[in-house]
Structure formats: structure tokens, C-alpha cells
Amino acid sequence: MTSPTVFAAVGEVGKDFFKERTTDTLPCQSTDKLFCWDWARENFDRYETPLRQHVELVLISVAIGFAIAFALALLSHRHRWLRPPFLLGTGVLYTIPSIAFFFLLLPLTGRGRDTAIIALSAYTLQIIYRNTIIGLDNVSKSAVEAARGIGMTDRQILWKVEIPLARPEIFAGLQIATVSTVAIATLATFARGGGLGEPIFGGELGIDFKTNIIIAGGLAVLLAAAFGLLLLWLQRLVTPWRRVETE
């Protein structure tokens, strides 16, 4: 770790940041520079595997979380009394910190990627469940009545009227869950689940090597932004009526 005094350390970082532009010394790890471009250029390939693992963790966890939360939402849409217990259950899973969740699973699943995926999926349930039921609730009664009037069955009303009209909220929930999962998946390394947290904690580089933290953290931020924008675009794609309304 660096100097314990806050302000002195900030001063040093500022000075070294400017020095970095004039001197170009390898290896840079031993110095206290904010970012070593030469090291980054030479070592960028180290991050390919963690990045791929990170994407996999997020996609698998959100897919599992979505499947479960969506099923719970549909079930409690038909049977209203199931809502309070489902909200409480998913709320408890949401409140338990992911890093604690990884190790609560220790006696059952040990360490590894599966453990990380279980904890990450559990975390997404509340966000997706809540948004889906809000979306289904917001569907206008008249649309449902009209569907019933033209002779649709309950099943047809659900899949052809209610779920399509609930898409904005469902996608909003999916977006929040995915972006959050990208961030939290950096902690999967504690459960030996891989991902972009691994170069920071558990790798051979050391937790105080700033260039490493910036690259790994920066990739996680970019990944979160990319997933967020992709889901925003998908949301616009599947809710064409909204574009007409806002114009």
C-alpha cells in the first residue's frame, strides 16, 4: 500500500502523472505511477481470459435470474396471494451481500464458478421480479377488457397483450440487473469464480499496482456501459409505440 497520509499521497500521484509523459521506464510496477502505458501495451493480453470469464458470469447469472424471476412474476400475477412471500424472499436474497452469499454456499457447493453464478443469480431476482409485476400491473384495464371482448383466452391475453405491454418495465429491470451484476461479478474472484476481479485480487500482480486496477476496473465499467446501452437499444426496439408517443 502507499503512504498512509492522504494529502501527501495525492500530491505524489499528481507529480508522477506528469512525469509519466516524459520518462518511459520499464518495469514500472515498482514505481508509484498512476498509469503505466508501456506496461499496459505489453500486458493487455493478460486481461482477455478474465474479460471472457466475466461476460460468461454475467450472461449465465442474468439468464438464470431472469428465468426464475419471470416465472415467479407470472405465477403471482395469476395468484395474487403469492406476492408478499415472493417479495420477501427475493428481498432477503437481494439484501445478503454477494460476497457473504458466496461463502454461505461454502458447505454446499464449495468454491468455484457455479457458486459465484448461484449467488449472482439470486441477487438479480428481486430487481427483475419487482419490475415485471409493476409492468404487468401498469397494463391498462381497457386493453385487457378489449382482448377479452374479442374472445381471447386468459393465456392469450397474458402472452399477446399483457407481457408485450409490460416490456418497458421488464427491460428496465433487466438493464438494472445486468449492469449491477457486471459490477458485482468483480467479487466472484473471492469465490474463485474468475472474472475481472481476479487480476486485482488473487492474481500475481498485487492489489496496489494501480495500472492493473485501472485496466481491470476500466474494462468492468466499459462492459457495464456496453450491456446497459445494448439493453436500452433492445428496449426501444421492442416498444415501438413509445417512440411514437415521445415524438
Partner: protein, 239 residues
């Protein structure tokens, strides 16, 4: 149940509970026992302390901004986008970077954690105030209330559920991430989890149980505070 679990090759519930109450032998401390109730209490207080300080910083930064912007109905897109973007901050990188670039210890950890608390508080407070029924605000203005009175007596009470939602979200994020504070030189319950070689498998499981209980207890406490703050007229009445 615990009898079955204790036969598995990993940590056991029994072992973890024993670790919480009685210090245990460690493989690396040369005969010094680790864990036990005194250490648990000390680390719990540490984790609560950093959580409270960090939450106070986040509130001090985010509340005035959000109340003002919400009252003026300004920068809606920005306030909401900021909250969504805040969810994408990778906790581990944030803590590690703050420790390496600024320094270690209680205050630095609290500042780093406050970064996670600001977006939910800012967005929820803004949305809560912004969504207050305009008719209620106009009525208050018609009665001769000043802008500050409108905010304090009308908008904030009506926005309490949304506003508290943000504070609860921030608290959960902060107390959860305070678990990895030992990486930045501040001992919390996460020490049991991170320094597995010192505390052993049972220590890791004990840490996880304690952190989960602490987060749930905080969430319950805040839900209680929210009930107290919610105006009687806004509470769902039994039918």
C-alpha cells in the same frame, strides 16, 4: 441439518458457530487463537462505524443536490442516468484503487464507500420529490408557504417511501462493500473471509454468516425507521 453438513469436506455450520463464540487454533499464528466473540464484536462495530460514516458522507453530498433539483424539476434525465451509471461501479476495483491512489484507513475507506451510496440516494430523492403531485404543491403555495416550507412540509413527507428506498439501497451497497475494506487496511468482518489462511474454512463461513446477518439487521432497522417517518395518511390501512 447441521450434522449432515459437518460431514462434508468444506466448512461446517457447527464449526462456524464455534468460531464465532470461542477463539480457535489457527495454522499460521503460531499457537495464538483467532476468532471468538470479542473479535466478532470488535469487527462488527468497525463495520457499522465505517458504514455509518460513509452513509453520512453520501447523504451530505447527495441530499442537498437532489432536493434542490427535484424541487425545481431540473435535470431529470441526468439525475436518473447518474443513478443507473452508479450501479456499474465495480466495487473491488473502486476499493483497491482508492487504497492504492489515496491511502488506507477508516476515512479513506468511508470516502470510497460513499461513492457507491451517492447514486441511489441522489436518484431516488430526485425522483421522489419530482413526482410529488403538483396540485399538492400548488395548494401549499396558495396557502402562503415559502419554497423551503413546501419542501419540508409537503414534498419530503410525500416522497418518504421513494427517498428511503434510495437510502436503503445505499446502505445495503455500503455495508456489503465494507466487507472488502480489509483490502484497504481497515478491519471489518470481511477479514474472516479474506484472510482464509489465518481463520480457516470455518472462519470464512462464520464471516459470511455474520455479514449476512448484519446486512439483514440494517435493512430491518431502516424499514422500521421508514415506517416511523411515513406520515399516517400515507400508510396502507387495513381494509
Amino acid at each position: 441439518m447441521s450434522g449432515l453438513l459437518s460431514q462434508l469436506p468444506f466448512a461446517s455450520i457447527d464449526g462456524a458457530i464455534e468460531f464465532i463464540f470461542e477463539p480457535q487454533y489457527s495454522n499460521v499464528t503460531g499457537g495464538n487463537k483467532v476468532g471468538g466473540i470479542d473479535k466478532v464484536v470488535e469487527l462488527t462495530i468497525n463495520q457499522l462505524q465505517v458504514t455509518v460514516i460513509s452513509l453520512a458522507i453520501a447523504l451530505a453530498v447527495a441530499l442537498p443536490f437532489a432536493l434542490y433539483l427535484g424541487h425545481k424539476h431540473k435535470f431529470e434525465t441526468l439525475a436518473i442516468a447518474f443513478g443507473n451509471a452508479g450501479r456499474g461501479i465495480p466495487e473491488l476495483a473502486l476499493i483497491a484503487f482508492m487504497a492504492a491512489a489515496i491511502g488506507v484507513g477508516l476515512l479513506n475507506v468511508a470516502i470510497a464507500l460513499a461513492v457507491l451510496g451517492i447514486p441511489p440516494i441522489l436518484t431516488n430523492t430526485f425522483v421522489g420529490i419530482h413526482q410529488v403531485d403538483r396540485a399538492a404543491v400548488d395548494a401549499a403555495r396558495g396557502m402562503g408557504m415559502t419554497e423551503f416550507e413546501i419542501l419540508r412540509k409537503v414534498e419530503i413527507p410525500l416522497a418518504i417511501p421513494t427517498l428511503m428506498g434510495g437510502i436503503r439501497g445505499a446502505t445495503i451497497a455500503i455495508v456489503a462493500t465494507a466487507t472488502i475494506a480489509p483490502l484497504a487496511g481497515y478491519e471489518t468482518l470481511g477479514d474472516f473471509i479474506i484472510n482464509e489462511n489465518v481463520y480457516g474454512e470455518n472462519g470464512v463461513l462464520a464471516g459470511a454468516i455474520l455479514v449476512a446477518l448484519l446486512a439483514l439487521a440494517l435493512e430491518l432497522a431502516l424499514a422500521g425507521i421508514q415506517r416511523l417517518l411515513t406520515s399516517p395518511g400515507l400508510k396502507p390501512r387495513p381494509a
